[in-house]
Symmetry: none
Subunit: 247 residues, 2 copies
Amino acid sequence: MEGDVHFEEGTPLYLQVSRHLQRLIASGSYPVGTLLPPEADLATELQVSRHTVRQAIAVLRRRGLLQARKGVGTRVAAVEDDWRTRFTANTRGDLFDFASATELHIEKRDMIEARGRLAAEMGVRPGRKLYYMAGPRFMSGDSIPFCFNEVYLDPRLKPVVAEIDVLRVALFTLVENHTGDRVEEIQQEVRALHMPELAASYLGRAPGDLCARMTRRFNGSGSRLLEYAVQYHPGDTFSYQTTLSST
Amino acid sequence: MEGDVHFEEGTPLYLQVSRHLQRLIASGSYPVGTLLPPEADLATELQVSRHTVRQAIAVLRRRGLLQARKGVGTRVAAVEDDWRTRFTANTRGDLFDFASATELHIEKRDMIEARGRLAAEMGVRPGRKLYYMAGPRFMSGDSIPFCFNEVYLDPRLKPVVAEIDVLRVALFTLVENHTGDRVEEIQQEVRALHMPELAASYLGRAPGDLCARMTRRFNGSGSRLLEYAVQYHPGDTFSYQTTLSST
DNA sequence: CGAAATTTGTCCGTATGTATG
DNA sequence: ACATACATACGGACAAATTTC
């Protein structure tokens, strides 16, 4: 095709291969619907082991870009735009899109200590100090909030967000820019529960109403907690949708 | 510890190891916050290769149960509270795994016509005939169901499932084997709502109780509907988790 | 501070199983 | 029956990060 891959020194080989394949897919060298060359061929062509090719393919399969079938081959299932937007390959609503299509009005700020169940859910040591912000989130231009949002951050990030009243971007991009640490993993949880009082008051609902809670844990390198966010949605206006990849 | 793992014949070794570890975590043999034995030790202890152990650990990492750090070890990050309380399927394989760890008791069968909201949610033409089955789902060996399950199939598949009373595999694999069509895509939705009467009666809850409903649409080639499944979980024993990874 | 030990991460080679065409 | 191609599993080797001494 176009020679070997290995240039970048620091990054793992299988990631370089994965990006290489992704570029070829994006450029149309491997159109959607067609089969990739067999793993063995890719391995010899790129001068890497088949194991490394499989690792690279696994990355793209988890993003839903490729689908493999035993005895057939690995099919290109979709093109993907930008390696920066890939968090959302699994989710229906892109986190970035979501953030930029909405507005978070920060109306509460506090310095708190994580305790008990909160500390357990966040996976931090009890007593850890955190900067807390909360407020309603609106669809841009809307006057009625569609969810109530709580955010927990490392206290050192307080100056970054202290002056912000309305957020129109994903908060973790600010965190990334300021700390230099990159969000490597986002763990999400959806759960049904009764609407807490605070959320109810912002959403114009009664405490105890049907509620869907979405929590997100943003991990940096080494699973360090960078941000923890909680959204409370009225149960009748929320649904979480995903498309599962094969394998 | 308690001997080897391998018994089950059909299932891959790394999945057996993964379940083994999961049981040990759930049982408290590896408490939350502690480190797992080194991969090499697990490998010799379980009489498998380190590669297989790593595959097994990777499964649990994707579910957020384990977190690994280079130079340190693999830490137990969470218990699946009971593990009936956490329902997680990020891939088709997870779904397969889940199905084989549970039993669906089919106690209702009917031929129905999709109408109104149901037809809309399923994305089929109103009036389309469908074969309906429903019943409680148990963790293998458990006597209390953890969810109530409804399934809608193409009527032509009736003979395939008509004689089945207890399902221990993913239904869509049966569908695949019989139709020759392959499930290319699974669309999931999670929603909070009040427990319907039928589900409540099977789950020993009151109608109107907090409930989480998971629906799955199994698409064949060309987005043709192969199966539509609905699960009703008590709200207090359900949570849906995903990890969005950057690598 | 530095060296050594530990542990996960990456990479390679090889062999065999299994579904597909 | 046969070849193809992915899936699983084993083995070994070295790199990189962390902790320990």
